[in-house]
């Protein structure tokens, strides 16, 4: 593993370059950059961050509105500025950031093949942190029928077009989704001079924070159609209308628009995790990790919205801070207990992260378990059951709402038996 691979043809001696950082981090979004910033000053070896985009910073780069940096920096800044601060902190701490560089596959247990304009390179590290983030499901994955029209975007593509490429969008948009990212899309549309005529959500109540929703409603004069579903896109070659179904009555109506923004419905970019053989949560499609963010592959960690699609950027960054601590412990020779308690969920919860609690392990990042719910519960009482007994029941004073992450203090785990059977998290209303 320590010698470079050389070509077998002596006529054309061409070495595949080898890099040997101490830690390699895949993805320079908030989680990856924060991991790098915290690790680099504390390690003697190199911390290498791989970013396939031409600039580091991740999704905040093109979310050109305020609201970033609250929990991790104690600031209230725009996405692009937040991305810049993260970049500067990582670089300032001594981490190497390679952009236009993509880790394409594994060459070994902690070894990656990467492609960059600098070459096809192998990276052998002592530890790997996967921070590849998440993306919104595009139209095909949502199986939206209708014409193949121009004017259909995910928020990611919309914001890339408007904020990074300064393109114009249409005049009348329908936004699918009514969660935080949907309002972020509405802000981008307004910036681009496009009116949001309707937001649709399958849920009976808008999914984002109520306060934000009310302010947003006034600010954007946008109607939110609850309990509705987009059933068809109409228009060739450009979008002319969408068909919306009322999920309670089955009635359908047509809404004229020239732009459709598909928001939310996140899926982690789990390709590297999956190809490493790391088990994947069947619902969130995230790699399974324990509270120290370890995957089942020794020395391979995961952090950020790859694990919880998706929480806000500052939470992803704070995952990175936690990952940095756990990677250091690993490099110092600390190895986890091989046993552990599996965390499971019952409806209306869809998934929980992290997924495993081991004896002697630290609490999860920010002392929170992160969950996703299908249904709005205003004042949920969270119940943990293990080996047929209720081990904790705790009332929380914040709602569990679809479209945003529901956070449970990890203190609820204090009373579980860390050598016992799986723990199921459910809700009593």
């Amino acid at each position: 593993m320590d010698t470079p691979i050389t070509s077998h043809t002596p006529a054309r001696p061409r070495q595949v370059r080898l890099l040997t950082p101490e830690v390699v981090i895949v993805g320079a979004g908030p989680a990856g950059l924060r991991t790098a910033a915290d690790l680099a000053p504390r390690l003697s070896g190199e911390v290498l961050v791989l970013e396939r985009e031409s600039d580091a910073g991740g999704i905040p780069r093109h979310s050109d509105h305020l609201g970033y940096g609250i929990r991790d920096m104690g600031r209230f800044i725009s996405g692009p500025r937040y991305a810049r601060v993260l970049r500067e902190k990582a670089a300032g701490a001594g981490a190497t950031i390679m952009t236009n560089t993509m880790a394409t596959d594994w060459a070994g247990n902690r070894s990656l093949n990467i492609t960059s304009p600098e070459g096809r390179i192998r990276v052998d590290a002592r530890a790997v942190v996967l921070a590849t983030g998440a993306r919104e499901r595009p139209r095909p994955a949502r199986l939206i029928p209708g014409d193949r029209a121009h004017g259909i975007y995910t928020t990611g593509q919309l914001q890339n077009l408007v904020h990074l490429k300064h393109r114009t969008i249409g005049n009348r948009a329908v936004i699918v989704g009514a969660e935080l990212v949907s309002w972020s899309a509405a802000m981008t549309l307004r910036h681009a001079g496009c009116t949001t005529v309707l937001m649709t959500t399958q849920y009976p109540e808008p999914d984002s924070y109520l306060l934000f929703h009310r302010l947003g409603r006034i600010a954007f004069r946008t109607r939110v159609a609850t309990r509705t579903k987009l059933t068809k896109i109409i228009g060739r070659p450009n979008v002319e209308a969408v068909e919306i179904e009322n999920l309670d009555t089955g009635q359908r109506r047509t809404v004229a628009c020239d732009t459709v923004i598909l928001t939310g419905d996140w899926i982690p970019d789990n390709e590297l995790a999956r190809s490493a053989g790391i088990p994947i949560d069947p619902t969130s499609k995230s790699p399974l990790v324990d509270t120290a963010l370890r995957t089942n592959q020794p020395g391979v960690f995961a952090a950020g919205n790859l694990l919880h699609p998706v929480d806000t950027a500052d939470i992803a960054a704070l995952d990175g801070a936690a990952a940095a601590r756990h990677v250091r412990a690993y490099l110092d020779g600390h190895r986890p207990d091989t046993t552990g308690v599996e965390l499971r969920v019952e409806a209306p919860f869809r998934w929980v992260a992290p997924h495993c609690v081991r004896p002697g392990d630290p609490a999860p990042a920010r002392n929170r378990l992160l969950l996703c719910t299908d249904r709005l519960i205003h004042i949920p009482t969270v119940v943990l059951t293990q080996d047929g007994h209720i081990v904790t029941a705790k009332r929380l004073w914040w709602p569990a709402a679809p479209g945003r992450i529901f956070r449970i203090p990890s203190a609820v785990l204090d009373t579980i038996n860390r050598y016992g059977g799986p723990v199921t998290i459910s809700v009593r209303q």
């Binding site: 054309r12 061409r14 595949v16 396939r52 985009e53 236009n100 993509m102 394409t104 093949n113 492609t115 960059s116 304009p117 600098e118 070459g119 096809r120 993306r135 919104e136 499901r137 595009p138 139209r139 095909p140 994955a141 199986l143 029928p145 209708g146 014409d147 193949r148 975007y153 995910t154 990611g156 593509q157 890339n160 077009l161 990074l164 490429k165 393109r167 059933t231 068809k232 060739r236 899926i267 390709e271 999956r274 069947p282 499609k285």
Partner: protein
């Protein structure tokens, strides 16, 4: 014989730059003839050729004795060889027809016999256990199967592009955006000149070959015939994430039965798994939208055929139109008086048979005695097309290529690993893309699971600048 400024008349004009038309133009421009290749759309292969199931067929299930049977059998051999020469991605996966009920099982011996009649003796009837050994992940309830070891998967886009590029390099004039609206046939008897009025001016030709696919019956009528009718048949397909590919390494074909043709599940040369197609007759020859019923039908079929597939993400949904003809066989016919050749009623098997159809028409022309076929002495070698198949090395994996040209090290479409170098090459190729979908068919860019979440804006810019910014990566 050549078309010059003083003689604006082509010796031959082929209508339709799909696989069949491109193959014909390629073959005929191997002679000392001026050849025009017309298409109504803005790219080659924009009609039925772009949206078939991308299978290189042995022809085992054709109706024995038909022209189609012979064309598919010969085309299989011709296209297999041509693929090796030009770099069209082909994977010899083999296929298994899986029987799910007793009537289907009872059909298998007859199918095997039919295959023998079609000159394909390598099929074998296998038991349910053998089916599950070969296809461990398909749904429960299979009763048996018929293997067709030489059915292969192929890139239909590269096939079309290779044939058209070859034709252009041999001197064919490609005229895109030329919808044929009216035909005036010459009637001077000895050497009639046909005038085609198109959406972009008139085009004159001594010979016209109709390979207009979906519009073939319309063009045929312009020559005074009424011998076949085409119904656009919509076929919807689901393409599943590459993470599904390990579930399947063979084509799973339906057994044709009285209850209609089922759907197939197939690996794709791009490393995905495809489920489809539906079959729905339409009246609109341009409606390539997907339908709620079609998608629901496919999900239902998939659940039964391959439940594990449905746990995977859907990367793309396609709806393509096939030219369903009321003629039971290919209609290939030479009209010596009007100097007009019809290549009509060519169903989705045209992907496989296209080169054989071209050879057949070449023979018909030679036999007519009305056109002189003199081989060109300076025939250029067939083009080498960029590989977009997953089974063969791609630029992003090629250390030497990246070292020589860093543009091949800059991946701009992450999901499909398409590099700036490949995009630049597409724009500087003999038939450059003019639309995003054209770029997608040439490079795979934006065909992946994110469908543009990451790269959509960047690719749009590359398209507008003709790949100009891809150049920057070299600096």
């Amino acid at each position: 014989m050549s078309r010059t400024t003083t003689d604006p008349t082509f010796d031959v004009v082929v209508i339709g730059a799909g696989i069949v038309g491109s193959a014909i133009a390629r073959t005929l421009s191997g002679y000392q003839l001026s050849v025009g290749l017309l298409d109504g759309r803005e790219d080659v292969g924009e009609g039925t050729s772009k949206a078939n199931t991308a299978i290189l067929h042995t022809g085992f299930d054709a109706t024995p004795g038909t022209l189609e049977s012979r064309m598919v059998r010969e085309g299989y051999r011709l296209l297999s060889d041509y693929s090796k020469a030009t770099g069209i991605p082909v994977e010899p996966t083999g296929a298994i027809l899986v029987a799910w009920d007793q009537p289907q099982l009872d059909t298998l011996p007859g199918l095997r016999e039919k295959a023998n009649h079609n000159g394909y003796p390598h099929t074998e009837i296998i038991s349910a256990e053998q089916v599950y050994r070969e296809l461990p992940n398909i749904g429960p309830g299979a009763l048996g199967g018929l293997t067709v070891p030489d059915e292969s998967i192929i890139c239909t886009w590269t096939t079309n592009l290779a044939l058209a590029t070859d034709a252009v390099q041999r001197g064919t004039t490609l005229l895109l955006g030329h919808w044929v609206q009216e035909v005036r046939t010459g009637s001077d008897g000895t050497d009639p000149v046909t005038v085609l009025r198109t959406s972009r001016g008139t085009v004159q030709a001594r010979w016209v070959i109709n390979a207009a696919g979906l519009g073939g019956d319309h063009v045929d009528r312009m020559f005074g015939y009424d011998r076949f009718h085409i119904t656009p048949r919509r076929g919807e397909l689901l393409v599943f994430d590459k993470q599904a590919r390990p579930l399947l390494d063979k084509i799973v074909l339906p057994v044709p039965s009285v209850r209609g043709k089922g759907v197939l599940v197939s690996p794709t040369v791009y490393g995905n798994v495809m489920l489809g197609p539906t079959a729905e007759d339409l009246s609109d020859r341009t409606d390539t939208g997907t339908s709620e019923a079609g998608l629901a039908f496919l999900l239902g079929k998939g659940k039964q055929l391959f439940p594990r597939l449905l746990e995977q993400e859907v990367t793309a949904t396609y709806a393509g139109l096939r030219a369903a003809s009321d003629s039971p066989d290919y209609l290939i016919d030479l009209d010596a008086r009007q100097q007009y050749v019809l290549a009509g009623g060519i169903r989705s098997t045209g992907l496989t048979s296209g080169m054989a159809v071209a050879a057949h028409i070449e023979e018909l022309l030679a036999d007519s005695g009305k056109i002189q076929l003199t081989a060109r002495p300076d025939l250029p070698a067939p083009p080498r097309l960029p590989n977009i198949g997953e089974a063969f090395p791609r630029p992003y994996q090629d250390a030497e290529r990246i070292a020589a040209d860093p543009a091949y090290g800059r991946i701009v479409c992450f999901c499909e690993r398409v590099t700036a170098g490949e995009i630049r090459d597409a724009f500087t190729s003999p038939i450059p893309p003019t639309t995003l979908s054209g770029l997608r068919r040439r490079t795979r860019a934006q065909n992946g699971r994110c469908q543009g979440f990451f790269c959509g804006a960047e690719l749009g810019e590359l398209l507008d600048t003709g790949g100009g910014n891809a150049e920057k990566a070299r600096a």
